[in-house]
């Protein structure tokens, strides 16, 4: 492990600060009713998303259900193929490498899923679930294997004797810890956390968030934290991206986004965050209607159908991404000159 850390440091020195760079990523899913029918259209799940993540930081990705957050997360890991764009991991495009190299690369990038129930194979004991990939990739020599697994489990708050148990014997929080341990076992640099706490109750959420933060500090991990829960994102993130219908409408440092939201959608989202004080009068921005279908997105600015500040140009022209202050990008006509 020490060797690996050394390698990490070396690579940190030699490479740029950014571990991941996403350039104009697009993912369209074809719509087919059956095999013989012609393709009817496509769902534009991710429609041109660009962002960078600095090594050792956390980027939060927020948005409504169905806006393409999870698709971004999975496309970055090449769990699904892209339609267009580039994903540079440590400066290399992960869509350019062959399957063999991709398997090696897998150990550097991991994912933690939302549902801790379906993400663990029900017929394997915990030790096997966590250790399988370790043996597959020869992360540690065979004689150190048991201790290594114990270490990982301990780091995630699991006891060694849990190894022989099966997933159904654990609670949701414990299962999520197992998922984290599984991801950590291959010693990754980057982890996509795909709504890891959404399925857990609030007290467990806190435990898991804290665990993730602790692990980030001790192992110099980089997270892409996908969530629809703004308070969680605020707690854990360094930078935040806001997605709407396949587009990253606002992206910037956490402080900028939460204190000075620029995009009307971000403003509406932030106004909806509940404040645990009955005396505070909320000034909510109510979004009318529901999110349009990504198969048939509105023309111009995709948000114009629900935007309170909609202008004439919003209906026809796609707004450009503007940097309104350093590191704070917005895609909105309000900030066009």
């Amino acid at each position: 492990m020490e060797d690996k850390n050394k390698v990490n440091q070396v690579s940190e020195d030699s490479q740029s600060d950014y571990i991941l760079e996403v350039r104009d990523l697009k993912k369209y899913f074809p719509i087919k009713t059956n095999v013989f029918a012609k393709q009817k259209g496509e769902v534009k799940a991710v429609d041109g998303v660009s962002f960078k993540i600095k090594r050792g930081t956390t980027m939060g990705l927020v948005g409504e259900s169905g806006c393409g957050k999870s698709t971004v997360g999975r496309t970055i890991l090449r769990l699904i193929e892209k339609t267009d764009g580039e994903v540079l991991f440590n400066g290399k495009d992960i869509f350019d490498i062959n399957k063999k190299d991709l398997r090696k690369l897998r150990t550097d990038m991991q994912i933690i899923f939302q549902d801790p129930y379906s993400s663990l194979s029900p017929r394997l004991p915990i030790g096997e679930i966590i250790g399988e990939a370790v043996r597959e990739h020869n992360i540690v020599p065979p004689e150190e294997y048991e201790d290594y697994i114990d270490d990982i489990m301990a780091a995630c708050g699991l006891q060694p004797y849990h190894k022989d148990r099966y997933p159904h014997e654990f609670s949701g929080g414990q299962r999520q810890r197992i998922c984290i341990a599984r991801a950590l076992a291959v010693n990754p640099q980057f982890i996509v956390c795909d709504e890891p706490v959404s399925a857990l109750d609030v007290s467990i959420q806190a435990q898991i968030i804290n665990l993730l933060s602790d692990l980030q500090k001790s192992r110099n991990l980089t997270y892409l934290f996908i969530s629809h829960d703004l308070s969680v994102v605020e707690h854990i993130s360094d930078t935040v991206g806001v997605m709407y219908l396949g587009n990253l409408v606002e992206y910037g440092k956490k402080e900028d986004i939460f204190r000075n939201p620029a995009h009307p959608y971000t403003q509406a989202l932030l106004s909806a965050v509940p404040v645990p004080d009955p005396d505070v009068k909320m000034n909510r921005i109510i979004l009318e209607g529901s999110i349009p279908s990504p198969a048939n997105p509105p023309s111009g600015c995709k948000f114009h159908t629900r935007c309170s500040k909609c202008m004439e140009c919003c209906r026809t022209q796609v707004p450009e991404v503007k940097e309104i202050e350093e590191g704070h990008f917005v895609q909105c006509h309000l900030y066009n000159d």
Binding site: F113, S118, S119, E132, A155, G173, C179
Partner: protein, 580 residues
């Protein structure tokens, strides 16, 4: 291991500690636990185990063989011999001569027309009537021809023959004495008057034609031509003594029923030599009938008796029954005969009796169980192999592969199975395929038609498992495809596979029984529960011999029930919604 410095890495406060729970059950153990709590399932398991013991161990323990036929001895009245009045001419050919069948037909014609000669195939035969229904057939060879013209006789010897003067003088002497034969040098010459031509000819004996049947007293005696001729002649003339071949014989004639007994006179003693009668008496088997027996039969027929007593070889008196039918008499007697022990009721020797072939039903049930269960298992294994591979490929790879395989499955589903079984069964009958090979062909066909349901199930399961997040996780972890299939997918399909396979076993045993019942499946001499029940297609067996088919029916019922109980139990045990 569990206690090995458990607090080494983390503080107790962060540990989600439930170390007190010592008992760790794997999913398999949980299923087993739930399964054994289900009483019906346990009953099913017990049924199946006992069926296996019955079939596979029972077959080893039973003292009988699968195809052993049981026989017993009984005394029943059987035909022993037959007697008939002979109305056909019998031909006794002289030594070295043949009397062809065509000539026989010509002879009958000649007899009916009262002619004394006939021609058959350029051979001139002469017919000499020696008595009633007693003819001698002679072929004359011309030695010389005397043509008398205007009182002048001219003698011309035939070609290749010599006619000495000595012979001529003998001929003249014979003519003077009015005889039509003369003897010279041991040969008899016949004088045949034919108008103005006289032919002197040698006669060649061809055959005797009569309706008498001769049988010798001793098996070694051969009744030759000369004796037969002399004997029959004696019977016609009534002379009680005659001499043939240097021996003297005496005849005891019974005029009434036209039979005679001949005695050989030797050293002043009368030795029984032969019997002549117009009755022909023959044994049903290849037995030699003694002349005494024949005489006894003739006697009984004469007296009009319906039975008579005759001592057998050991001197024991045996009663024979005489049954008359027109001119035919059948002699019957009680004989000890080997009989097949058919449809014997249950007894100590045969606990479930014997079937229509005299085989022990219990033993056949055991061997039948072997075949039924073996077919069930092998067919399910074939189905599983094909179904899991094709279903797994379709489910895992999806897309056009999935489409192709599933359309193939649809096609297999469209094949009407029963007509196909009937066609294949009759084709196998036509080709006279060995019953043993038939069983294997049957298994393969059942397997080839049975896999689609398994393939569909496996495909559906894998399709849904493939989308589960733990499969995405294995991809993210870079686990190899082989491990992903065999470590992550297959174990999750096993429960459904076990259930479907168990249920299938029952239905395959039923199908096999149905086919065997119709005579399309397992064939005699091999037993299967189905072809044992086949006995009920005889209504008499169905109503009278319950022990032939009820046990086989019960075994099928119980076994299929057992498989279904176990299958249900497994399904419930695998179902996570069932509370422990």
């Amino acid at each position: 291991m569990a206690n090995k410095d458990k607090n080494r890495h983390i503080s107790t406060s962060t540990a989600l500690d439930d170390e007190q729970r010592v008992k760790v059950l794997s999913p398999g153990m949980l299923v087993a636990k739930r399964f054994f709590r289900n009483r019906l399932a346990v009953a099913g398991i017990i049924i199946l185990i006992s069926m296996f013991l019955f079939s596979f161990v029972g077959g080893l323990l039973t003292p009988y063989d699968e195809t052993q036929v049981f026989k017993f001895y009984d005394i029943i009245e059987k035909d022993y011999a037959g007697a008939a009045v002979n109305t056909e001419f019998q031909y006794y050919e002289a030594e070295g001569e043949t009397f062809p069948a065509v000539a026989k037909a010509q002879l009958i014609l000649a007899i009916n027309n009262g002619e004394d000669s006939f021609v058959s195939k350029d051979v001139n035969y002469s017919l000499i009537n020696e008595g009633k229904d007693f003819y001698r057939i002679v072929q004359y060879q011309e030695v010389a021809r005397i043509v008398t013209k205007k009182g002048i006789s001219k003698l011309t010897p035939a070609e290749g023959e010599t006619f000495t003067s000595e012979m001529e003088s003998l001929y003249l002497k014979a003519v003077e004495e009015g005889q039509d034969t003369f003897e010279y040098d041991g040969t008899v010459y016949h004088i045949l008057q034919n108008g103005s031509t006289t032919v002197i000819a040698k006669a060649k004996e061809i055959s005797i034609v009569s309706k008498m049947m001769f049988s010798a007293y001793s098996q070694d005696t051969v009744i030759d031509y000369n004796f037969r001729y002399a004997a029959e002649k004696a019977m016609n003339t009534g002379e009680s003594r005659f001499e043939v071949n240097g021996s003297e014989y005496e005849m005891d004639l019974d005029v009434e029923d036209n039979s005679a007994v001949f005695y050989l006179l030797k050293d002043g003693q009368k030795i029984e030599y032969a019997l002549a009668s117009n009755m022909s008496i023959n044994a049903v088997d290849k037995d030699f009938l003694s002349i005494e027996f024949k005489a006894a039969v003739l006697n009984a027929i004469d007296n009009g008796d319906t039975s008579f007593v005759f001592p057998d070889k050991d001197g024991t008196e045996v009663e024979y029954r005489l049954v008359r039918k027109n001119n035919q008499y059948t002699i019957r007697k009680y004989t000890e005969t080997e009989l097949i022990n058919v449809y014997e009721s249950p007894s100590k020797k045969h606990l479930l009796g014997t079937d229509g072939n005299g085989m022990d039903i219990l033993t056949r049930l055991m061997y039948g169980g072997r075949i039924s269960l073996m077919i069930g298992f092998l067919v399910v294994i074939i189905e599983l192999i094909i179904g899991v591979i094709l279903g797994g490929v379709a489910g895992y790879f999806g897309g056009w592969v999935d489409n192709l395989i599933m359309r193939f499955v649809d096609i297999i589903y469209c094949i009407p199975s029963l007509p196909l079984y009937i066609i294949i069964g009759s084709v196998m009958d036509f080709l006279r395929i060995d019953p043993k090979i038939r069983i294997f062909i049957l298994m393969i066909i059942l397997g080839l038609l049975g896999w689609p349901s398994i393939a569909r199930m496996v495909r559906g399961q894998i399709l849904s498992l493939r989308e589960q997040e733990f499969m995405t996780a294995t991809e993210a972890l870079g686990i190899s495809v082989r491990r992903r299939i065999f470590k992550h997918l297959v174990p999750n399909v096993i429960p459904q596979l076990t259930v479907i396979a168990t249920m299938d076993l029952g239905s395959i045993i039923l199908t096999e029984a149905t086919l065997s019942f119709f005579g399309l499946g397992v064939k005699f001499p091999y037993a299967s529960w189905g072809n044992i029940i086949n006995a009920v297609n005889n209504i008499y067996v169905m109503t009278n011999y319950w022990f032939v088919w009820i046990p086989a029916g019960l075994l099928i019922l119980i076994t299929v029930l057992g498989f279904n109980f176990v299958g249900d139990g497994l399904r419930d045990a695998f179902d996570p919604k069932m509370k422990r």
